[in-house]
Symmetry: C2
Subunit: 392 residues, 2 copies
């Protein structure tokens, strides 16, 4: 007899659907909707990346290639990693696939149903979504004041069933950049208890103050550390769906076999775009980062002008994560309120874990006019209600 | 404690690695290797498809889009399906993803570990690879003389644990096109026992004699039939990694949630390529098919000239699947023999199931010179050994 399998009951997908549906319905009436809910840039990929993609298409890079990724791209990743993190991974430590898939593949290749993985809270929702459908238990470590991690909080949650710790620096949604001391503590805990450590570094090129530090310092990804990286955020290439993992060779081999089984390979012309992206002049990257920083500053300053809203300055990533508890609303009510009253679409903090409640997330990679108009609208909508606005 | 998960022991990936390694080692010595092992065309995608991909890149179709696929592509699939199969699926019956992923997603969304799926034998290896790593049991139905299916053989293998039947017409590796009567029998068995039916129709545009008939006639994919289709074979677009499933809305919704969880979405510029591909003039498709037919005829005729080899004329797909049992070798020994003695890379039939043994698979979408030279080489290598060549 046919029936859907057990795992389908755990498939949650995007929690944003309700907000998206209201936003789309309002937009369909002709109303201007300011969209800050998607973690993507309004700015295009670099022209040389688009040209490289087109050139690869013209040159016939349009057939099946190796599942782990074409060698020129993996060589380019080796060199980029040497420059960025100070070690050169072996070719067999690298596999290319969409960065989001790396989360699914690492979790499924290291944990059985019933095993546990530890994430920080707030966390990127895909960690939860994968745990949910695989029957693997997500254990969360609430971050402390300023979204800092206390290593004791982490270690207290390790059990004999813990297989994987996931960190994310700079963090989505908080924008917090983990300090070298925090990273060293996490690496020490992972080593002491012999647990895999997935370091989600997708925002490593999006740091405005401080510097990126990776737990790969401890083992060069040979023992337990897996780096997740990709091109969506640092190189404005979300639509290319290109990322890569660097990790212990035996785990990377399994992930490659899984990618082969499920996906065959990534489009080769997309991999050529990755080679071009890694060769982007530092000057261009710095220019774009400076511009992003100015957008961050603008958004955070304007958010702090809104009654009931306070926003710390995030050191990295592409999000403002203001505290909206002063409005008296919870994060979902606030999201619906500003969408209906000010046409501003943003993400309730509750989607990022219990510790995300009381906050909302806005991706500020929009133009200045959009940011200014949206913040002005929210200020007006909340203006007469400095405290305890109740969503009707 | 860290350890790889149980499912990693079931990851088998490509069984071709040994042959590929020998082929690559020989090629590295400067020797000409004639490659027939990959199920891909030597011919490029249509120029208008490449242009559409480049235009979509130039027009900024490079950001996140809906996980189920952009609506213009799904609308184009509706129209194409109406023309090809005589029914118009609803939008919520369609999800786009790489065709190979559809196999993984359909199996995982319909069967639990310990459940059973039924495939024909010979079969496309991904069916086995997915069953292997998920702990779902693959039950095979050996095809009879001429690779025909007897419905009684199928029904005899149904148990209370059977969740899914997978058919593949035209078939890989056999090239057999299932008759309308065979398809009606399969659909009746699936309906009688209330089982999902995955119809892998990736080669539906690669038929040279007879016509394509789909089990979707019975339910318009509303009840149990899932069509797997894509652009790799019919439109020579293997490197785009674009396919689609049409099925019952509740199953398609789950597959979309799973795609959202694991991959987020497909690149939008690749989806625009799909729209262009579906608009390909019938004349161009017919021209290419005629050319493919001539390559098939050439290869089959030349194979039949080789001592110990007999090859039936396949009605569809892109493979010759000769019987090599007359050489006295099994299929793996034959594959190594012709690779080392004649520089011909092909796929042992044993990789496609027990019923594939005694055969080898060659993809004939190569130019005439390559086909002629390879067959000449195999003929010479086998010439002095009309019977019982033993691989040293």
């Amino acid at each position: 007899m046919k029936r859907l399998s057990d795992l389908t009951t755990g498939l949650v997908g995007q929690p944003m659907l309700e907000i998206l549906n209201i936003a789309n319905a309002l937009a369909a009436t002709g109303r201007t909707i300011y969209r800050f809910e998607v973690g993507d840039s309004d700015f295009d990929a670099y022209p040389h990346v688009i040209e490289a993609t087109k050139q690869a298409l013209d040159q016939g890079n349009t057939k099946y290639v190796a599942s782990n990724g074409i060698e020129p791209l993996r060589q380019a990743i080796r060199e980029y990693t040497a420059g960025k993190l100070g070690f050169t991974p072996e070719l067999n430590q690298i596999v290319t696939m969409p960065a989001n898939s790396i989360i699914d593949f690492v979790i499924r290749c290291t944990a059985n149903p019933g095993d546990e993985i530890i994430t920080l809270d707030p966390y990127f929702p895909t960690y939860e979504a994968v745990a949910s459908y695989t029957g693997i238990r997500q254990v969360t470590v609430p971050l402390r004041e300023g979204f800092r991690l206390d290593a004791g909080d982490l270690e207290a949650r390790i059990t004999p069933k813990t297989r994987l710790i996931i960190i994310n620096t700079p963090g989505n949604p908080t924008g917090a950049v983990m300090s070298e001391a925090e990273i060293r503590d996490v690496a020490a805990v992972a080593a002491k208890h012999d647990i895999y450590l997935l370091s989600d570094e997708i925002y490593a090129e999006n740091i405005y103050e401080g510097r990126h530090f990776s737990p790969s310092f401890a083992d060069q990804c040979r023992e337990r550390t897996i780096i997740l990286s990709g091109f969506s955020k640092g190189h404005s290439m979300s639509g290319w769906r290109l990322g890569y993992a660097i990790g212990p060779a035996e785990l990377i081999a399994k992930m490659g076999l899984m990618f082969n089984t499920v996906y065959t390979c990534l489009p080769p012309f997309i991999q050529h775009a990755g080679i071009a992206a890694l060769a982007t002049e530092r000057r261009l990257m710095d220019e774009r980062r400076s511009y992003y920083r100015s957008l961050r500053d603008l958004m955070v300053n304007l958010l702090n002008d809104i009654p009931g809203v306070t926003c710390a300055m995030p050191a990295g990533a592409i999000y403002a994560f203001p505290d909206i508890s002063g409005t008296g609303m919870n994060s979902k009510d606030f999201a619906r309120f500003v969408l209906e009253r000010a046409g501003v679409a943003l993400t309730p903090g509750a989607f990022f874990g219990k510790r995300g409640e009381g906050h909302v997330r806005l991706c500020y990679l929009r133009n200045e006019e959009t940011i200014a108009a949206a913040c002005e609208g929210m200020k007006k909508a909340l203006g007469g209600n400095k405290r305890a606005v109740k969503f009707a």
